[in-house]
Subunit: 172 residues, 2 copies
DNA sequence: TTCAGATCGTCCGAGTCAAGACGATCCGAC
DNA sequence: GTCGGATCGTCTTGACTCGGACGATCTGAA
């Protein structure tokens, strides 16, 4: 399944199809996507501004920022990026020296990506960009409504997640 | 920008990366995406079950269902699908005889896609599948909270939409 | 009428994503 | 030990998306 987004080259965002507000069915799925796309477009812009490629680049940095040792596989599951796609993300981040891949001495199959000081700086910078983007998106919304929104979203994600799991499990 | 989704082949959905619930930052963008992806995965499954390819196939049918005459360009803007991508969607739908492309007699450049009776049947069938999916996603949520959710989502989509427009306008 | 420019749908090419295959490595049973 | 199977990261390959180019067609000015 697409992730934080099957993303196009971020440059294309600027020429994005202006999704007509005329046809906006009170359809949960559609609205979710429209909203998600708009936010992502915003953050993608912020990402390219600071030399990243995608929001996903930042998501990976965010996951690494806590300093926990993680396999690439764990990482890919965490940020909902396919493991093959994660490779290119890490390649890029490593090239920009925001991340280094270390080899786990206990298991030489696995790589432990770790964030560098430079990576941490970019992470922090982007975090503030994200905050302003979210603030703009939710401007004028009551705090308790905001938390309700986040809660409901998390719930949808979790519930459908569980449903999908059940389905695949039953499938084989 | 990706649309109702840059969608992968729907079959892959079943093997979707199970997006870890462990790492779920209270990040609006991330949550939006996670929720949207889950819903889309659900609907994609429903879509393939009834011979469609994607949720987008259904979105197009939904847009056509009101019987309004629309060009492909208008249609693409409506459902937030790139016009070149819409071509393949319509090709597929036409092949399955859910849609026919008629030529506008007043302007022979434009094609007017129209939904067929068979298309209408698929549309209705899918609509009920969508309703059950949404019901499951929002199970136990108060009605007024549901409407609030939809309202906030629409707002985010619209606001960011406007922001993007401004940006592109300023850009040139 | 004629012709330049705009607009429609389509096609092509570059770029991206992910399923499956693969080598390297680990682990447990024998 | 060693051998089979599982698991890691990577690579290959096929499918998909979309920006830009194209022919067909329309419109308005001269």
């Amino acid at each position: 399944m697409r992730v934080m987004g099957v993303r196009q080259p971020a440059a294309s965002e600027l020429a994005a199809t202006p999704c007509s507000a005329l046809f906006r069915p009170a359809d949960l799925t559609f609205l979710l996507h429209a909203a998600a796309d708009r936010m992502a477009a915003d953050l993608d812009r912020a990402a390219v501004d600071m030399g990243l490629n995608d929001v996903r680049d930042w998501l990976v940095l965010a996951a690494l920022d806590d300093g926990q040792q993680r396999t690439q596989l764990e990482l890919s599951r965490m940020v909902c990026v396919d493991k093959t796609t994660l490779i290119s993300v890490l390649d890029r981040l490593e090239q920009h020296e925001l991340v280094v891949r270390t080899v786990d001495p206990a298991d030489r199959r696995v790589r432990i990506p770790q964030i560098t000081p430079a990576g941490r700086r970019v992470y922090a910078k982007f975090a503030s960009a994200r905050d302003t983007a979210e603030a703009r998106a939710l401007d004028g919304v009551e705090p308790e409504q905001r938390t309700l929104l986040l809660e409901l979203l998390a719930r949808i994600a979790d519930r459908q997640d569980a449903a999908a799991q059940d389905l695949t499990r039953a499938g084989r």
